[in-house]
């Protein structure tokens, strides 16, 4: 691959990740194009771009998932590359292919890598060939083979779609009696979600941790590994809080995890940023789960600990440059990311899109906020209700935890219900403080009814301030208007100190 310049990048995404990518483009002096649906007209990411193309109505199919409209926007603006962010079209091999066919650079892996890793069975084969440990299991099991395969593995076991990812259609099976029913349900779900009903049977490892390794490949066979992320705190396979490094990964284990991830990346000549996910068993054994061929939501914790900018690394690889300093990046300190959502944990995590009257952001040392809005804004009902990610860095885990608590106490989304109290409660649990958790901990905690728990007492002063505000008492924000300072020239009189025309 020869070096090719990138002068203008179209960001085919929205929300916090579009804003985050646009900021790196600005730093590099690369011109940027945002694409936005009608409901995102006033979104922060639109304001951070050099150009914007409104590509359609709110429905993702007609805007952020429309390959034709995105390519047309790239053509009309003269963009020479497309960054897909995460979600939407990021892991669609046909999109990457269409981008390249249009003569543009796809800032991501090759369509071949995306397709390979998108198919769990083939990805697992690739992992095995590369000498990466995989869970004992059977791929593409036919119905008549189910019982025998299950008996070989033992119960409980896990059924998951070959084609899928993100926990969709995944289910635990505890006995032979329910196996057939579980398999047919899983096939239906897999067919509906991925148009492919092949299934994988796998040993159920419990309690397990979800550990993933960040890699960046140059597309020519060189791959850098940037440590692991601890992503075990999940609810329904949706991550809630991530850390870098993991408190339970020793330097020796890190070496082995990184080696495994690099071997897989090298075997497929991986290009760009990717994540190799592993299940870590209590005995320290780890197994390949899947490889995500995109920038992850939780990439900032790696950036803070390794002192890198993964979007800029993606750009460098896309230009045909090497991995440079990534190969020698070393970890420093500890980072924690908390995902802020417009949702109501008290009501089954129902999304609560709407207007944010006021977004109070934490400030101070070691704080990074990657958010979809600034000051105020809205969370449209049409997309994932994530508002942003609060990322903190500390010199060690204890300091990072203290900082996360402080930063979260400064944070508020006024105007809509959010998961802030839920996150605050997690940070107060002994299992979080002691890093003693696994992928089922949060759900078990919720089921045990330990959240929301008794709310913090509300100071009486706050109730009086509430009553006073309802009466329009105090100085109201709306009526205050911009603060006016006296014009220094008025104070000095008509005569300008520097004379006319200065």
């Amino acid at each position: 691959m020869t070096e090719r310049p990138i002068e203008k990048v179209l960001v085919a995404n929205r929300g916090e990740i579009a804003a985050r990518i646009l900021r790196s483009l600005r730093e590099e002096g690369i011109a940027s194009v945002a694409v936005a649906s009608e409901v995102d007209r006033d979104a922060l990411f639109v304001r951070l771009a050099d150009e914007v193309v409104f590509i359609g109505p709110a429905a993702p199919q007609a805007s952020y998932l429309s390959v034709d409209r995105i390519l047309a926007a790239a053509e009309s603006t003269g963009a020479d590359a497309i960054h897909p962010g995460y979600g939407f079209l990021a892991e669609r091999a046909d999109f990457a292919e269409a981008v390249e066919r249009a003569g543009l650079v796809f800032i991501g892996p090759t369509p071949t890598s995306i397709a390979l890793m998108g198919d769990k069975s083939r990805a697992m084969e690739a992992a095995m060939e590369a000498g990466v440990p995989v869970l004992p299991g059977r791929r593409d099991v036919k119905d008549p083979e189910l019982a025998e395969a299950a008996k070989d593995l033992g119960f409980p076991l896990l059924i998951k779609p070959s084609a899928g990812g993100g926990g969709k259609g995944m289910r635990r099976v505890d006995s032979l009696e329910v196996l057939e029913e579980a398999a047919s349900q899983a096939r239906r779900e897999a067919k509906a979600a991925f148009g492919d009903d092949r299934l994988i049977l796998e040993r159920w490892v419990h309690p397990a941790r979800h550990i993933e390794v960040q890699v960046v490949g140059d597309g020519r066979g060189a791959v850098a590994a940037l440590g692991e992320r601890e992503c075990s705190l999940q609810r329904r396979h949706q991550k809630i809080l991530e850390e870098c490094p993991s408190a339970v990964v020793s330097p020796a284990l890190r070496e082995r995890l990184q080696d495994a991830a690099v071997r897989l990346g090298e075997a497929v000549k991986y290009r760009g940023a990717g994540t190799v996910e592993f299940l870590l068993a209590p005995d320290g054994a780890f197994y390949f789960l899947e490889m995500n061929t995109r920038l992850q939501v939780e990439h900032p914790v790696t950036e803070m600990v390794y002192g890198v900018d993964l979007v800029r690394a993606q750009l460098a690889v896309a230009r045909g440059e090497g991995l440079g300093a990534l190969l020698s990046a070393t970890p420093r300190g500890h980072a924690i990311e908390l995902r802020l959502y417009a949702e109501a944990p008290e009501r089954g995590f129902l999304p609560t899109p709407g207007e944010v009257w006021r977004f109070l952001e934490p400030k101070g040392p070691g704080i990074r906020m990657d958010a979809a809005l600034e000051g105020a804004g809205s969370v449209p009902p049409d997309y994932d209700p994530m508002v942003g990610k609060l990322v903190v860095w500390g010199s060690d885990r204890a300091q990072a935890v203290q900082r996360a608590r402080r930063a979260l106490d400064e944070t508020q989304l006024m105007g809509l219900e959010s998961n802030l109290d839920f996150l605050r409660a997690i940070l107060r649990t002994p299992w979080f403080e002691g890093a003693d958790f696994h992928t089922g901990t949060v759900e078990g905690w919720i089921e045990a009814g330990e959240f929301p728990g008794p709310g913090a007492p509300i100071d009486d002063e706050l109730l009086i301030l509430a009553a006073r505000a309802l009466r329009g008492g105090g100085r109201r924000r709306e009526s205050t208007g911009p603060q006016r300072f006296p014009d220094p020239f008025e104070i000095l009189g008509a005569e300008r100190p520097m004379g006319e025309g200065s």
Binding site: G455, L463, A466, L470, T480
Partner: protein, 170 residues
């Protein structure tokens, strides 16, 4: 300044709050009969700093559509004035009252006209919301000074429907 008496609906038990601003900076009163007093050190743009016996508190306050949200260092509350059918909710300073829509809905009946003398407890309007009728009643003997809507109008939660002024007996 006269003492105010409000009943706040925090999504559970109503809480009675009495308070007055002795001057621009001193607030005193009671919450559910617990006495409270504090000083306001700073107030602007929806943010204030108050001095309490437990130290300084930085408080953010926002009001929209009859709902107030207060945030203070990791704890927050949402409240609105308690339902107008709860007598205490609508007494303004004791001489005026605004009957407001308890929920977003439709005014299905207006049972008073501007200028009417009404008795305490008289139903003046009925709002239908969530398939339930919510009567709005006079909290004291009063004169209707304003009707802000017509029958059939849709109203937002907290929107004023009837304004009353206390009728003084001669």
């Amino acid at each position: 300044m006269k003492a105010r008496r409000d009943v706040l609906d925090l999504g559970g038990e109503p809480v009675e709050v009495q308070w007055k601003n002795d001057d621009a900076f001193h607030v005193s009163g009671a919450v559910a009969e617990r006495p409270v007093a504090f000083r306001i050190l700073h107030e602007s743009q929806g943010e204030c700093v108050i001095e309490t016996p437990r130290g300084l508190r930085r408080v953010f306050v926002e009001v929209r559509d009859g709902v107030v949200e207060v945030f203070c260092g990791g704890t927050s509350l949402r409240a609105r004035k308690a339902l107008p059918t709860d007598r205490g909710a609508v007494g303004d300073d004791g001489d005026h009252a605004n009957l407001v829509a308890p929920m977003t809905g439709r005014v299905i009946r207006l049972e008073a006209a501007v200028g009417d003398d009404v008795e305490e407890g008289a139903t003046l309007a009925v709002v239908e919301a969530m398939k339930m009728e919510h009567p709005l009643q006079a909290p004291f003997q009063a004169v209707v000074v304003e009707l802000s809507v017509e029958e059939g109008d849709t109203v937002d939660m907290g929107e004023t429907i009837v304004r009353l002024e206390r009728r003084t007996e001669n």
